[in-house]
């Protein structure tokens, strides 16, 4: 699949552009044609393979303008998140590989320094670009260089606190940095940014617009009416400029605000960028763009086209159904969303909290049924968790539905605001384990380790979609402090799913799934279904293998482990989490405490960052599948040949 394509005949401008140098040889009047080509090529390619899509359509002209007006890669452009960077990839030597994006060995899903010198700073999580840009500008100034540094950040990312921290610091340092606010008024989910409303009022309100014109006019006239009025008049213009532009927040933080400008007028964008190249200090350019621009189905269904899950019909936008051999089990996300509805209907104290991702977490299902029970706080994971803690002090049981990888942003709040105070906040961490095409920035393979070290925390991992239901219910009934459950992206394992009703699980109790007498596999999560198959294979080989579902990573099931240590000479721990400090380490800590000495091997995600690719491919690569488990047990059993090893 990772074959470059070479036929660009359908794109008369793009066919001659490999790197921005080529672009800069063109006339400014050619840039509309270039933009059209880039957009067409993007739609043609993504409609065949799927991928993040809407954001890129919104930045076609901006990408063309930036690489035309600036001297990239000498000038540095830092893209926030990276969803918006597909046109940038097309223009910087990677058009021939765009169709490989998000595939194993193919182009990275976001920005990636190893991939291109034009990718100045890696991305994936939101709101990092201004900080990185400011760091680069500080380095530049130390070295006495004068290149331009530009951060391009969407309005969604602007709700993240670190963007504000960086704006503030940039205002203080007064560095020459241009921040481009790419405002598609939509972020991932609408209406989570207060400035939206504010901008919209100022830009669209006809009274305000008319007043602005009038004031300019009046200010000219009252200049003749004596000193006092003249003084007022001259100040009026400055004053009104501040009131009438939507940039006063940025001005207050020490930025010069420019805009808003139309993000789809490539000529105006180039002119503005050329003008701004002469300006000094922290600058903010406000660009108004449309997510999905130029592709009708995406313009009208912005959230659906934020990312296309797979190929779709270019004309209608309808997804092209993949050949399905059997009906797929429901997605964990949806099982979670449905269970939330059911629980919220009977328990008035439960609410759901999302950081700008109701659709990506299943909370949209609850939002539809019981809209006032969902809080969408914006891309603001830190606030989400402490907001939940605040609610918990008043007897509520908030469920923070945040992806495993994004929960890293709220690590301190989970410790400081929730766990120290032993508040009843539930962390429902979706996308735990290997997430696939989104790659190393998005894999949720650290949560068991970073949650386990927190005192007062309880951690559950459902082995299947039914256990997810029961664990969520158990969590809402639990009153002893914070409790987390983590579950993967994608479809369940296909077990029978109760339509209604829940079973409350005993905290800290695991279960035996299959008996055996030589090797015990003890693990958590849906990977146990692979373990069950592996155990059958091993039984056939004469290696009698039991399988245990620990269910709880914390508190660990001491009785279960003691029984295992007593009955089995060999133990394989299994988790779709880092082998450093995770479930396996918990088992080792227990065995050390009890001075138990089975031969133990930890199977999980190895201690390096895992690239992007299909989850199945990645699991195979790191030996986290049926075959990998069989191999790990074989190796483990082989050590017992060396029976000279003594305890102590």
């Amino acid at each position: 699949m990772i074959e470059p394509i070479s036929d660009f005949e359908a794109y008369p401008y793009l066919k001659n552009i490999n790197v921005p140098e080529d672009l800069r040889k063109l006339q400014i009047s050619d840039l509309r044609g270039v933009s059209n080509d880039v957009r067409e090529f993007l739609v043609d390619t993504i409609s065949q393979i799927g991928g993040h899509f809407g954001a890129g359509l919104g930045t076609v002209e901006l990408s063309v303008a930036l690489h035309y007006a600036l001297d990239t890669p000498r000038d540095k452009v830092i893209w926030d998140v990276g969803h918006q960077a597909y046109p940038h990839k097309i223009l910087t030597g990677r058009k021939e590989l765009l169709h490989t994006i998000r595939q194993k060995e193919g182009l990275a899903p976001f920005l990636r320094r190893e991939e291109s010198e034009y990718d100045v700073f890696g991305a994936g999580h939101a709101s990092t670009s201004i900080s990185a840009a400011l760091g680069i500008a500080a380095a530049r100034d130390f070295q006495g260089e004068d290149y331009k540094v530009v951060a391009v950040i969407g309005d969604g990312s602007m709700t993240g606190g670190m963007a504000y921290e960086a704006l503030n610091n940039c205002g203080i340092l007064g560095k020459n940095v241009l921040v481009i606010l790419n405002d598609n008024r939509m972020s991932i989910a609408p209406n989570v940014w207060a400035l939206h409303n504010y901008f919209n009022t100022l830009i669209t309100n006809p009274t305000v617009r008319k007043f602005k014109d009038t004031v300019w006019d009046v200010a000219g006239k009252i200049g003749n009416n004596g000193d006092r009025l003249r003084f007022a008049g001259s100040k009026l213009v400055d004053g009104m400029k501040a009131v009438m532009t939507p940039g006063m927040m940025f001005e207050a933080l020490g930025f010069k605000y420019f805009g808003p400008v139309n993000g789809h007028n490539v000529v105006k964008l180039v002119e503005m960028l050329n003008f701004l190249k002469q300006e000094k200090g922290p600058l903010l350019l406000h660009v108004i763009s449309e997510k999905g621009k130029g592709y009708k189905p995406a313009e009208s269904h912005v959230q659906r086209y934020h990312a296309a899950g797979g190929a779709f019909d270019k004309i209608t936008g309808t997804a092209i159904a993949k050949p399905v051999t059997a009906p797929q089990p429901p997605e964990y996300m949806k099982v979670f969303g449905n269970a939330m509805v059911e629980i919220c209907k009977t328990n008035p104290k439960v609410v759901g909290i999302t950081a700008a991702m109701p659709d990506g977490t299943g909370l949209n299902i609850l939002q539809k049924e019981l809209p006032d029970r969902v809080f969408d706080v914006g891309i603001a994971e830190q606030h989400a968790v402490t907001f939940a803690a605040g609610m918990a002090t008043q007897g509520f049981t908030p469920v923070c539905a945040i992806y495993s990888t994004f929960s890293q942003r709220a690590f301190d709040q989970i410790i400081h605001d929730v766990s120290i105070q032993k508040l009843n906040v539930i962390f429902a961490m979706d996308r735990a384990g290997l997430v696939g095409a989104d790659g190393p920035t998005h894999h949720g393979v650290f949560d068991l380790s970073y949650l386990r070290l927190i005192p007062n925390m309880t951690i559950m991992v459902p082995k299947d979609e039914q256990e997810l239901r029961d664990m969520l219910f158990t969590a809402t009934e639990y009153r002893q402090g914070p409790i987390a459950l983590r579950f993967p992206r994608g479809a369940g394992v296909g077990v029978a799913l109760a339509a209604t009703g829940f079973q409350k699980l005993a905290i800290g109790e695991g279960e035996m799934l299959k008996d055996g007498n030589k090797v015990a596999i003890v693990g958590v999560g849906p990977m146990l279904s692979q373990a069950m198959k592996a155990a059958e294979d091993l039984d056939h080989e004469g290696i009698s293998t039991a399988v245990f579902n620990a269910r709880f990573v914390k508190p660990i099931d001491a009785a279960l482990l003691d029984g295992i240590a007593e009955r089995f000479t060999h133990v394989l721990t299994l988790e779709e989490n880092s082998v450093v400090g995770g479930f396996g380490a918990a088992v080792l800590e227990h065995f050390a405490r009890t001075d138990a000495h089975p031969h133990v091997r930890l199977l999980g995600v190895p201690d390096h960052f895992i690239e992007h690719g299909a989850p199945g491919e990645l699991q195979k690569e790191i030996g986290l599948d049926r075959v990998g488990i069989v191999n790990a047990v074989r190796e483990l059993v082989a050590v017992s040949v060396n029976e000279t090893i003594k305890v102590g």
Copy 2:
């Protein structure tokens, strides 16, 4: 020591106030007297015991006004950080115990829910109050209640991104929440908040003040000059209000801005609070206060009196010297600061980064010598780390000097922006281990666990102040990605300290400090000096004990551990870090990988939050000292009596 005091005769108003109810029985004209009493009592008490001081002096009148105007604890006041909450503690039933603050079993250093129903939400780390307040307000509205919710946040905490996330979300939700910005224009270190400059211009600039008056005047007059002018005139007032108040950032985020008001005029504060009780929606009251107000030495040396390290003379402010029997070794912080100066003088690529704490990290030493080599980014740990990552992409080697506990705020940035990209950023984590009087919110006992799980990370722990120098130097020479070193609060162990020059350490190599033949203690950090003494004690008892300094937690010294497993039947791991997932777990993981089976016991910080108290007291309590180590080894050796344990 934890004896309440009962003699309040010197404070004629305060003697009759135990809880806010008592305060509310007084006339408003009495409140100046109350404020004076609270201030006097605070100075009298803290001058005897030390403690956070400056911030509390700045909030005396505000605390009196809040408890007078509001119906606490029904109305909820949430204090950010908690340094500012001493007057609040005095007024809410705890004056008799104020002298016990920060002592073991005494009053908590910050807010604490278990301590008082008036402590609505715990604090310690900055910028959490608005999130908590909004959560409480959301809960209130669900329950159909109508109490007031107030967050009091300093200007320093306003540089933290989560404060902005919360403001934004509050603006969207439109909840009835009052945020009081307690602006002492100083935060912990000056000039880290862009809005400072902005506020100062608007509040103090005489032209702006005069213009404001003029415009109001003019606006009245031009009302007669025809429709067009009248229209402009009427709008002018609104417009000018926005320009002329320093609150436009808050207005843009959906808040109604009020102020600024004098934070030391208690009557005006009460009037303003009474007025605001009638207002709806998100409100921001801007209060200007002086840190250290009313105590001359503190007013003129704000940073020194942020916290008083111990008793001081009430009149002169001079610290009362503690009886010293021997000269104290230098503090780790200062050793770090001096080493930074030395390194920066020879290596032009090294810079220091602090999150508003140059004085608290030793970077003030570098700031004095080479001011342009230190970046103070405000209370903004997330930004600090990604800013460092940006600099690192351009060949710089930034040293992020952030306390262990505050680094938790940047956990995601350490993973996502630094480690995935393998950038050469150094994390110098001061205050690692038990910090003492600041208690559970400030102990740095998780870093080894949360750093260890991060791929590409290298982690060093100096055993003494000389090794700290060498490790810092080693880090600046290391070019293979992120590297962290963590060291404790307070004085070094007293080893000979090289005046200049450094030794570069081999990555991943530990050392033997003392040989033995039955038990091996292997650990990291200054706790090893206790282990050396314990080993001598054990030798005398006939338990021959060796001591190893692993130096590196990651990569762990495999050869050292293999040698230990070969030679010793019993291994005690030692760290001033959680026993969950930390150094001890790394040792267990290695022994599992190599199928080594010594008897292992993990000694470290147990898996619960540790209260406040002197570090020595706390270490003793959890068995992390000479005696504790001896006891742990004795217990460990006792298990070997049971030699029936078999491997596997």
